[in-house]
């Protein structure tokens, strides 16, 4: 980058003597103009048929501008595709993140659920046979007890407590 920056001004100084003055007359027909030596105003002033040396090729100003027009038209056609690429990239990332979240959650939940299963089994084991059924029956009785008279409630609560008490295996 530094080398290029140095070369251009030096070359511009060396070729300065051969430059047409922008305010002066047009270059003679057939005269080659070097692009690197042109100022903005000089370029604007050139006729469309003027041949310009662009370093790697020589084409007329008209051909150069036509080439830009074509390039712009081609680029313009591609613009909608560019946004589609962005949206596709987002969709892929969205899926990746959601999948990652769900996978991490599933992994974490499996550890917790294993522990829950262990706790439930230990709890049932400590309460004796038919623990789930007894517990459900006790819950139903206690629901009835909520609407009973004080004396009935006492009896119902006793029934529920008997169901919930540990029994021999």
């Amino acid at each position: 980058m530094r080398a290029a920056a140095l070369i251009v001004p030096i070359f511009a100084i060396m070729s300065c003597a051969f430059l047409p003055d922008a305010s002066a007359q047009q270059p003679a027909p057939g005269q080659i103009i070097f692009a690197k030596d042109l100022t903005r105003e000089q370029f604007k002033a050139l006729p469309s048929s003027q041949v310009i040396d662009f370093g790697n090729e020589r084409i007329t100003k008209g051909e150069f501008l036509d080439r830009i027009k074509t390039a712009i038209a081609d680029a313009n056609k591609k613009l909608p595709e560019l946004k589609q690429h962005l949206l596709a990239a987002f969709a892929a990332r969205h899926k990746e993140v959601v999948d990652r979240e769900n996978t991490a959650l599933a992994d974490g939940n499996s550890k917790v659920q294993a522990e829950i299963a262990r706790l439930v089994a230990a709890d049932a084991d400590g309460h004796g046979p038919n623990w789930d059924a007894r517990r459900q029956q006790a819950a139903d009785i206690l629901e009835r007890a909520k609407r009973a008279t004080p004396e009935e409630r006492s009896t119902l609560e006793k029934q529920a407590a008997d169901l919930l008490a540990p029994t021999a295996k």
Partner: protein
Amino acid sequence: MNTRCSMVFLAALALLLDNAVARAQGTITGLSFDLPAVKTCALETIKVSGTGQCGTFTVDLGDGTPTVHLPGHFPILVYHAYTKQGTYTPVAKGQGNCSGTASAALQVVGPSITSIFPFSQIKPDGWVIVQGENFGNLPGKLLMHYKTFSGQQTEASLLSLQWGDTFASGMIPFIGGLADQQVTFTVETQCGSQSNEWSANFTAFRDVQLTAYNRIGCTMNPGASVSDECQGWGGTNWPEECGLATWGTEITQTTGFQAYHASGWGFSGNSGNDQFSVSLNNGWVLDMVTPLQWEYVGGGSTATEWFVSPAGTSNPQVGVPWHVDNCGMIWYSGDIIITGPIGVPY
């Protein structure tokens, strides 16, 4: 009431009293418990002792529930489940020719959370186990207390409960619009007794979004000229010396960033650097920036490298160095993908 009715009533009352005296001559002498301390919801057996036989006596359970009226032979057993922790003093008191009063203090202990299972998933659809004591044998409620994004304190019951006296577990419902925060869990026993609160860090489910176009600011170095735009469109600013006045069809961006640079005549073209930035809130941070999409006219136009803030930044920046040929143009676009709590605005 006429005289005849009064006489019938008094005769009946005398007969009743006579029968009661003949049947019930008792004294309450004591009140004791099956267990000296009991858990909430668990049945306590209250034993009323005495001598003789009581026709009727009452037991005030001490917790505001209606008084129990009981007849019978001593000892009399009364069953009751207390729903709130504390110290209660049931009182048995004779009625009619049943004399005596007895009472005793009873300690009732409530549910207590002592820990949370370390692998608990404190997030939407996550399973949680709280551990402790005195939860009771029947399922109650496992509650998570949290603040909504609008600041309202509320609670949610965990789903699919599994329950034991020393643990309660369930799944946090999928709640959107919650930022990461400290929440508390409580256990409510089957009979309504509340436990202590236990704090834990809630992590919201992560969403990813494209940053809205109008939330992204930009600066250019060098500053704007007639042919430079960032977060804008340079369609009408093509340098006139290049012989073109317009550029394509404008695309309205709803997300992401973009810039347009066109160079007028100059053998070395033009170079610069664009900086895009966005300020994120409520736990939203940068996830990534999409690969740059760009289109150009001119062989030396580039916008291929950039500076991007590291992921996790709440004020991400994107820098795009560019170069444009003489009479060249470059247009580029990218999206800033951000991640944050689902349902919470950024």
